[in-house]
Amino acid sequence: MSRTIFEKGANGRSGNFLPANDCPVDDLGFAHRREGEIGLPRIGEQDLIRHYVELASKNYHIDKGMYPLGSCTMKYNPVINEEVASLGGFAGLHPLQSEDDVQGALELMYELESDLCEICGMSAFSLQPVAGAHGELAGMMIARDWFRRRGEERKTVLVPDSAHGTNPASVVICGFTPKTIPSNEAGLIDPEVLKQEAGDDTAVLMLTLPNTLGLFEKDIEKIIRIVHDALLEQAEKGIVDYPDYLFDVGALVYMDGANMNALMGIVKPGSIGIDIMHLNLHKTFSTPHGGGGPGAGPVGVLEHLAGLLPVPRVVKKDGRFSLKETSGESIGRVHPWFGNFNVFVKAYAYIKALGGEGLLEVSENAIINANYLMKKVARDYDIKYPGRCMHEFVASGRNLKKFGVKTVDVAKRLLDYGLHAPTVYFPLIVEEALMIEPVETEKKEALDHFADVMAKIAKEAEENPEILHEAPVTTPVRRLDEVAAARCPELSWSGGECLPMEE
């Protein structure tokens, strides 16, 4: 195991990074000075680089191999995007420079917003949310304020049982109460069930399309109509007064756009009646995941909700771009500036490189790859919802339980074969779930290899399950004691001391 960076330094070692101070030293004015050392490393530059290169060697990453994590869309991150995003004209901008000095940045944001509108059929996008869950939060704030402005206190948000965990968590922060909608035996929302669950108190239906099983809701039109009608009925009874143009928009439909990689050029969510959605630029639009961020989660809405988007908004007038700070209806801010601008540059470069036909090609290949791989994996693993899938599918390790093997064992064994595991134990409605998203940038041979390894592991489960229980054995560390970590976590380096947690 690598020693920590704190163990590698020695007193007196440090580089020289700043010119000499050309002003008199003055640290005496402080009423409350820090006494003693901070405890930062003192390490020479060569050892520092070796330290991080050593750490790097212990990471799996897209540039190493296939990363079939369902719902995460681990596609190739084009290197040109990294190059253009690091240009000084982008990286060196302060967010409070005058508009004259940032015309290029504003133009990029304006164009990216309008491209996202075209791709999704929405009327307006705000780029401000910095992650998918942050976009959900902004979207829920928009829904909340929309109802509040109309004097309604609708409290319930319907969330299918297959939803990402962030969905109900975002709902709660906005003061709504999530209500779970069970999926039917096909893994879909049942319009009849929805009709019973949707009522006077329903504010939003929050769905993922395609859902986390990789399935397109075939009754989506009916579903949207039911949700919209939940409000329309009230309007017709004269309980709430709505302007005419809103008459066909009832309770709102929110779409978690995490799976938009399946729909580009195929379905525009806004055009089929989705009122609010978010995108994950770090999934669909190829910006790197960075080991857990930075991401970007733009939120888009149809016209009737456009005024509620976060401020500031980028506007264009007479060929000049500017920032509009206020809008009476806006939910306000979810970020102090404009969002993760550096991520916008990469997503913009990606969209421009591919164009309309290229984005359709992405979704087509994502769907073909998933269906092809599902067919192959189905030879050795249960598929609870067989048939057509979109960009991902969920297999199950249930059939291996008779050998005493669990999905976690399959996942760990995959690591031994030099592959990354799929998303496991999610969605919750599939026992021993293995959620597999091959993405469009993997070619047929890579999928064949993955399927072959999966088959080999299924065979090992039957013939020698011990290998799977022991796995992984080829990785930098083997299975870790998570229970001990949770009981007494060691969250910082202090020579190995941990913090006992009260039950």
Partner: protein, 450 residues
């Protein structure tokens, strides 16, 4: 450009294997009326050369603060970034990896974040820090929600001097939980009115938020405030500038309960305000209520040291609606940048950054004082302070811009009581004595003789 590698014959073969005769058959669950008609209207595909040229043109249409003499701050600072930071960040082992769910093949990310947590815990002198938040304002908002859960009350006190942008983010987050935010005014030296604070505190107060240094750059009497807050049974949440912590007493030493801050100063490009890096540290008893990822050291089954995500029962992917927060993706790579930055500069280099910033700010202050420029809040600041320039902040800023100087942030709109002449000026280690003289001349109305 296309990044798809399947050939037409691959696709034909795959469709055949799947048991369909065309791609269209795979879309059978989608009613044809829902389908997009025609090609997305976002323009034709560009070659890589065209992409580079288009993006180059957009970048050139900007004038970057990093290339000018910048006194802009307010949360985002123009600082020197050592070359090691970009080198490590450009390793695709880090930037193309996912959240470390499979710990055995993510030890690089996990150990790097563990070391980041250690550095933040040490900087703040707190028990532990999490694996990062989006930025300081959302970290502060989450700390506010956390305090409200811990104290089971819904009132929070913030300084009236808090950045209005940060306040706006707090408002967005507070609305869902019906949290009431009260503001404590500031006194003539720009720090909070402790007397007024004492009167505002009650058993209903969940937390008091204190910025150190505050938005005007001034150093607060943290011990006094901490005493008042804890006497009233509320939590003290500190919004701390990490560079200032090299010189100013860390929050753990004056009994802060939760500490958040903006890590952009730690080797992160200004990048038009994003991505940023929120840090969040807390006392041990509150860790179970804290948002976001936590990385812990542990052992593998062979007894070998390793790292894993821990206390995950707080998190959305396990607890769903009962989670402490909805945060999932955070700012992992940016946290790595901060670690590399702090490790590169090290104990001495980092202290030098803080010392030079503070010294240069004091020098500028002295020059302005001598030139007769009005300085409303006095000398008790770290690296940022308010000046008032007759003739209006906007005219001064425009005049300076003509000389390639970004003079600061006009404050009148956000803080009307300071008037239209007030400007917030930030001085980092990158400024030279010559830069300071130029700004001083501009502020003194000398038009900036070179």
């Amino acid at each position: 450009m296309s990044y798809v590698q399947n050939t037409d014959s691959d696709r034909r073969e795959m469709l055949k294997e799947t048991g369909v005769s065309s791609f269209e058959e795979l879309l059978e669950p989608i009613d044809s009326r829902l389908r997009v008609d025609g090609v997305l209207d976002i323009g034709p595909a560009m070659s890589e050369a065209e992409v580079a040229s288009r993006l180059g043109a957009l970048a050139s249409a900007n004038n970057a603060a990093s290339e000018m003499i910048s006194f802009l701050g307010g949360g985002i600072y123009d600082r020197f970034i050592p070359a090691t930071v970009r080198y490590v960040l450009s390793r695709s082992e880090f930037y193309t990896s996912y959240t470390p769910y499979q710990a055995e093949v993510s030890q690089g990310t996990l150990q790097a974040i563990f070391e980041y947590q250690t550095m933040i815990a040490r900087l703040t002198a707190m028990d532990a820090a999490n694996a990062s938040m989006y930025d300081a304002s959302t970290a502060l908002a989450e700390a506010m929600l956390m305090a409200s859960v811990i104290k089971r009350t819904r009132r929070v006190v913030i300084p009236a001097s808090l950045s209005r942008r940060v306040r706006a983010v707090l408002d967005s987050y507070a609305a869902g939980k019906d949290i009431v935010i009260d503001e404590v005014p500031f006194v003539e030296d720009g720090t909070i009115d402790a007397g007024a604070l004492a009167e505002m505190l009650s058993e209903k107060t969940a937390a008091v938020i204190l910025a150190q240094p505050n938005y005007f750059g001034m150093i607060e009497d943290t011990r006094k405030v901490s005493g008042l807050v804890h006497e009233a049974g509320a939590l003290l949440i500190v919004l701390a500038d990490p560079v200032s912590l090299a010189l100013i007493e860390p929050p753990g030493e004056y009994d802060a309960d939760i500490v958040v801050g903006e890590g952009q100063s730690l080797g992160i490009a200004q990048s038009f305000g994003g991505p940023l890096l929120g840090f969040l540290a807390a006392k041990t008893p509150y860790l179970r209520k804290c948002p976001g990822r936590l990385i812990s050291a542990t052992e593998d089954i062979d007894g070998k040291r390793g790292y894993t995500m821990t206390l995950q029962t707080r998190e959305q992917h396990i607890r769903r609606e009962k989670a402490t927060s909805n945060i999932c993706t955070n700012e992992g790579l940016v946290a790595l940048a901060a670690s590399v930055y702090l490790a590169t500069l090290g104990e001495d280099g980092f202290r030098e950054v803080a010392l030079q910033s503070a010294s240069k700010a004091k020098t500028l202050y002295g020059m302005l004082e001598e030139a007769g420029v009005s300085l409303p809040f006095g000398r008790n600041f770290f690296q940022e302070f308010v000046i008032t320039v007759p003739g209006g902040a906007d005219a001064f800023i425009a005049r300076a811009r003509e000389r390639g100087v970004l003079a600061g942030i006009p404050l009148g709109k956000d803080f009307p009581s300071l008037g239209d002449d007030a400007v917030l000026v930030a001085v980092t280690e990158k400024r030279t004595r010559k830069d300071l003289e130029l700004l001083c001349d501009l502020a003194a109305g000398k038009g900036g003789a070179v």
